[in-house]
Assembly symmetry: C2
Homo-oligomer: 161 residues x 2
């Protein structure tokens, strides 16, 4: 094992600022959704993914892939969402192992109610605070990050669809 390459003073400063900002930002979004829509952010993302799918329906595995979530987590989450009536499970016609998750009308309505607050939060806390050049830079930086992460593969595919 080679010597650890520690961070320079400047890198350390950037690193701490970055991780703090990300933490605070994500925290803000999560609380906003939880307050306004009474669901965790990850559930919101599931509803969004379903709402964009044909027939508002996706295989569990596709849904897990799209959200880069483990099957287990998704299974628990969909169980919960089914309890509150926002998602319903269907048998997969082509593969008896499979299960389909479908967004219900109630789920779609809940999503429509939650969306404006969420978008406003993203706008106010992110885009309104950055210059156009910074927005471009952020996009490029994010791509660079994603390219270096194995976990990013599924996400990259989802983005390029």
């Amino acid at each position: 094992m080679t010597e650890t390459r520690w961070l320079t003073e400047q890198e350390q400063e950037v690193w701490r600022t970055f991780i703090s900002a990300v933490d605070a930002f994500v925290d803000h979004l999560e609380r906003q959704i939880q307050r306004d829509a009474n669901m965790p952010y990850t559930y919101y993302e599931i509803l969004v993914a379903l709402s964009e799918a044909p027939d508002r329906t996706l295989r569990m595995s596709e849904l897990a892939g799209a959200r880069s979530s483990s099957r287990s987590r998704l299974s628990h989450a969909v169980a919960r969402l089914e309890e509150v009536g926002w998602v319903r499970r269907l048998a997969c016609p082509t593969d008896k192992r499979g299960a389909l998750a479908q967004l219900t009308d109630e789920g779609f309505a809940a999503l429509q109610e939650a969306a404006p607050g969420h978008v406003t939060a993203v706008r106010e806390k992110l885009f309104d605070r950055l210059t156009p050049e910074q927005v471009v830079a952020l996009g490029e930086i994010s791509h660079a990050l994603l390219d270096g992460l194995p976990e990013g593969a599924a996400r990259r595919q989802a983005l390029n669809r």
Copy 2:
């Protein structure tokens, strides 16, 4: 309530890339620490904060402030860290309500073992993938973000110490 200002096509693209990158990146760090040091990332951050404090000791509330964590969460976390022997609780001499958390030698050793892997991950997945200009830009963007977040106040103070 005024009309929702939705995201432009470009903003949407940047937004999805950004949130995916952050998710994948944070996920990667968390798993790395969990695998190598057998503790969640938040516990690692607690140990770091303690290790940098005088006498490796901090008031619970200061520790919560530094990590922007709720008192409750910190209390649970320190209880857990105490169980494994990495932190010890002391009575606060000046305030009978207070409690001090102190990093034990075992905790410090665990931190020293975990640090190289963590720094290497940050280096490889973040700094090695960005140009010097991007690093600067990322610092500025992070500051801008932090400035807009109420939750960021405590973090900003911690950074400016």
